[in-house]
Amino acid sequence: MTDFVLVKVAQGNARAVRECIDQFGSLIWSIARRLTRTRADAEDAVQEIFTDIWRSAGRFDPTQGSEKVFVATIARRRLIDRLRRVGHRDLTDSIDDVESLTWSDPGTRAEICAEAQTAARAVMQLRPEQRQVLELGLLQGLSHSEISEALKMPLGTVKTMMRRGLIQVRHLMGVEGDVAAEEAQS
């Protein structure tokens, strides 16, 4: 008998579909609020994300990561698609009365999963300019060209910093993948 709600959804358990809302609703809502412009956008996005989560539940593999990371991956992908659909936005655009996301030392915060704690510690070790590029892309949802414009930095440099930053974070997390490892060796 599994404890993973996503595994139960994949097995066709109708109650688990509703449990997903209880378990991840606040998390998905919190992410959506920060990566959409308005409350109405966030509501639409959350509905789309849950459909994606239920449909994708069969792909969840507990050996590859936590359920929270799995649902956050799906949420991020959907929200990026929505941001790109809306198109270019100015950094001065207000995002409804919602605080921007930022990284800080996670300490012993109980509410975030182990992977997120490790990731937070890793990203805090990056150079400030590299962390800023990752922050604008991953937490503010800016495209590479928007980051380039905002930081007055060539697009190629943004892409390189993003790539090296992610590889370094993975290295510091001790989860280097085979493609990254191959690149590191070459």
Partner: protein, 271 residues
């Protein structure tokens, strides 16, 4: 730079791009092709890291609003209605005869009217494998469409083929019931697709949402050697006032925003 290093460089570039900025349709097709050629198994590595970093930045969670929770519970009810079908048709033994679903492996039940020889082959595998489930699903879908057509409020519109090569000789229709939000697509002569590369996707244009934001009506496949295919519509959001149904050809897995450069068939609904 060696061919292997060039390959790794490009895969990395696309994986990071996907995790941080999203991919367009052609980049997604390219990445699928490259990953399909390789021994690498962790194509999601950067997306998972990006997600972990996002979780690290979220901080204190904001409670889900009650009105949104109620909408999600209703959505969950609709989803669970489809679950038994999804679970059955995703069984590998049924794959060759069943139009497939998104990369998730969740697939809509589809009724397929096949040539006689194909029916025999399908019937044999069904008998061995799932003790009568699969034929019942076909009947369910066909019957579901007929029952829907019997309702007075159901609209039925013929597909209009475009100039797209995949649409050559296509006919069929779409039926939709606004009150129940249930519908079916029927195709004859629509070109089969390679689900690893491209998939068909239905879009429902809703007057209440505007032309820029059609509702995703689901991803589906057309198998080879089928004379007629019926596919249930799985709208991802409530459709308030349907204006047009359009089928596009997209990268495998479908897309959130169609480039609309491969529109295959259309069916307009009068206001």
């Amino acid at each position: 730079m060696s061919a292997s290093a060039k390959y790794t460089d490009r895969v990395m570039e696309l994986l990071v791009q996907r995790a941080t900025d999203g991919l367009n349709a052609s980049e997604q097709v390219e990445l699928n092709r490259l990953l399909g050629q390789s021994k690498h198994s962790d194509g999601n590595q950067f997306e998972q890291t990006a997600a972990a970093l996002l979780l690290a930045g979220v901080g204190e969670e904001e409670p889900l609003p009650e009105n949104l929770k109620a909408k999600l519970m209703t959505q969950a009810e609709s989803f669970t209605v489809q679950m038994p079908r999804s679970a059955v048709v995703s069984m590998p033994i049924a794959e060759p005869a069943v139009p497939s679903r998104r990369r998730s492996g969740v697939k809509p039940a589809a009724a397929v009217v096949t040539p006689r020889w194909a029916w025999l082959a399908a019937a044999a595998s069904v008998l061995v494998a799932i003790a009568g489930w699969w034929p019942r699903l076909e009947v369910d879908t066909q019957q579901g469409r007929e029952q829907l057509l019997a309702q007075q409020t159901t609209v039925q519109k013929e597909w209009q083929a475009t100039e797209d090569p995949a649409a050559k000789g296509v006919s069929g229709d779409v039926v939709w019931n606004q009150a129940t939000q249930v519908g079916y697509m029927r195709f004859r002569g629509l070109a089969s697709n390679d689900p690893q590369r491209v998939q068909y996707q239905l879009w429902i244009f809703d007057r209440a949402r505007g032309d820029k934001y059609p509702v995703d009506g689901g991803v589906f496949d057309i198998p080879t050697n089928q004379s007629e295919v019926v596919i249930p519509i799985t709208a991802r959001l409530p459709v308030r006032d349907p204006a047009m149904f359009a089928v596009t050809l997209e990268r495998a897995g479908g897309t959130v925003v169609s480039e609309r450069d491969h529109i295959v068939v259309l069916a307009k609904v009068a206001s």
